[in-house]
């Protein structure tokens, strides 16, 4: 897609990544809550979706977020051993690793998809994680997942020239 921008540096500055965050009810969501009540300031780029357990996050949710315009997806769950449902976060870890490799094969960089264990008291680490991820995704730029079905590419000379 041709972007009509004047000065790419200025455009990069203006790019505000949209990050969808799936946080588990018992740990990371509470950390986000604590960050709010203690007025910790972090980048406003994340939209938090509360799930009961990180193990509830179907890989389809992640793909759907990317497909609908997210530039990054963050998953937050309880530390290993602390999952309210005992093993949900281990399943999350296993799915995360295979999904990240699948996304890589589909052209989505590792920095756009992140898993972090954050307990209810870890508002400060949450702030660091969010700020860091926003910066990394900002550096990568918008995801732009358009499907160029209409990009008609077989105009003889044009293809031959590549």
């Amino acid at each position: 897609m041709p972007e009509t921008t004047t000065g790419s540096a200025a455009a990069a500055e203006r790019f505000e990544p949209r990050i969808v965050a799936f946080f588990c009810n018992w740990c990371t969501y509470l950390a986000a809550d604590l960050a709010g009540t203690t007025r910790l300031k972090y980048a406003p780029n994340i939209r938090v979706v509360r799930v009961m357990c990180s193990g509830r996050i179907d890989p389809q949710f992640v793909l759907d977020a990317f497909a609908k315009g997210a530039d990054g997806v963050l998953i937050g769950g309880c530390h290993p051993g602390d999952c309210h449902y005992e093993s949900g976060n281990y399943k999350t870890l296993r799915r995360f690793q295979l999904l990240r490799r699948t996304l890589r094969a589909l052209g989505i960089e590792d920095d756009r998809f992140r898993l972090e264990w954050l307990s209810a008291s870890e508002a400060e680490p949450l702030k660091t994680v969010v700020n860091d991820m926003v910066e990394k995704v900002r550096a990568l730029g918008p995801l732009h997942l358009e499907v160029p079905a209409e990009a008609f590419a077989a105009e003889g000379e044009e293809v031959a020239a590549r």
Binding site: P59, F66, L93, R95, Q97, T102
Partner: protein, 324 residues
């Protein structure tokens, strides 16, 4: 005497296996032929596009289209046949989900053409000529259909009434679909004409599939001697059965090979690969990141394994195209 219903078959980006499947109806194909009037079937009968264009809109009772949509010609034919037909059936995995040709969505048109016409070992093309949309030869203007950058399913191009799953659909499913069409006993529009339950349900090995399964390694069928009775997943082989719709009676498992997912997902799953990924990953018998990486690393080609037939129909549809 009432006229026989008119039926048409067409192929887009496909291998010919779906045409073969129709012929595989064996004696039943004669019943079908006796009951209907086949008005268009490029693979088997000499009718041309202008014959279809001359038909009245909606005059064909049902058209079965197999193959994914990649070229401008396939797209035009999809629209034309849609207009002429009262019922349009996406026949087979490629038409329903994108199928094997849909794996081209991991690549782009320029590299596909370069491989096919220049770099593949069997190619002899010293001048590096690529297909041209327009050429003039001996004073005659010649044209070829254009290739789209992305392979699409039939329903991403036009409105589809029913889907017949499988690579290729089994004679049993085809016969049942034709029967339903002829008697008007059709389910709701948009239905897949096969049971809406996972393949495991009709697999003879279901009883040996443990409720709780933990795998320390994923193996390829070539790396193990497979027991012919035990659930393949329980033997560490990636069987797509749990993430795939039934209807084929587990044909591949009957041949002691794992299901690779050709019948697509059930109606409760939007993205077959993601669902299979979720299931396979959760079976990994480790809580340690490095160990998990090692075990899941045995799935060398995750997209080709999880989305073998369903990449164009998936949530992301293709490998991301770099934008400049």
């Amino acid at each position: 005497m009432t006229a026989k219903p008119k039926i048409a078959f067409y192929w887009c980006a496909s291998c010919g296996g779906c045409e073969e499947a129709v012929v595989d109806l064996a004696e039943q194909v004669l019943d079908v032929v006796a009951a209907v009037d086949i008005v268009f079937w490029p693979c088997a009968m000499d009718f041309k596009r202008h014959d279809v264009e001359a038909m009245a809109d909606g005059s064909i009772a049902a058209t079965f289209v197999n193959g994914a949509v990649r070229t401008t010609e396939q797209e035009e034919m999809a629209h034309l046949l849609r207009r002429k037909s009262r019922v349009l059936v996406a026949f087979g995995a490629c038409s329903q989900l994108g199928g094997i040709p849909g794996l081209a969505n991991l690549s782009d048109t320029a590299s596909v053409l370069a491989t096919a016409y220049r770099t593949s070992p069997s190619t002899v093309n010293p001048d590096g000529v690529l297909p041209q949309r327009h050429t003039v030869d001996g004073g005659h203007a010649l044209g070829l259909p254009g290739l789209y950058e992305t392979v699409r399913t039939l329903d991403q191009v036009t409105d589809v009434d029913y889907y017949l799953p499988g690579c290729a659909p089994t004679p049993k499913l085809i016969a049942a679909a034709v029967q339903a069409l002829l008697t008007g006993a059709l389910p709701a529009k948009g239905s897949v004409l096969a049971p809406d339950i996972a393949l495991c349900d009709e697999c003879a090995r279901k009883a040996s599939k443990p409720d709780a399964l933990a795998l320390a390694a994923f193996k390829r069928p070539s790396e193990v001697v497979l027991n012919e009775e035990e659930c393949l997943l329980a033997q560490g082989v990636l069987c797509m059965g749990p993430a795939t719709r039934g209807g084929c009676e587990a044909a591949c498992v009957q041949g002691n090979m794992p299901c690779t997912g050709c019948s697509g997902p059930t109606s409760r799953v939007r993205d077959q690969g993601a669902k299979a990924l979720s299931g396979f990953a959760s079976l990994v018998a480790s809580n340690d990141a490095a160990e998990i990486e090692r075990i899941t690393g045995a799935i060398a080609d995750p997209v080709g394994t999880l989305y073998r037939y369903a990449l164009p129909a998936s949530l992301l549809r293709r490998r991301r195209v770099a934008v400049s």
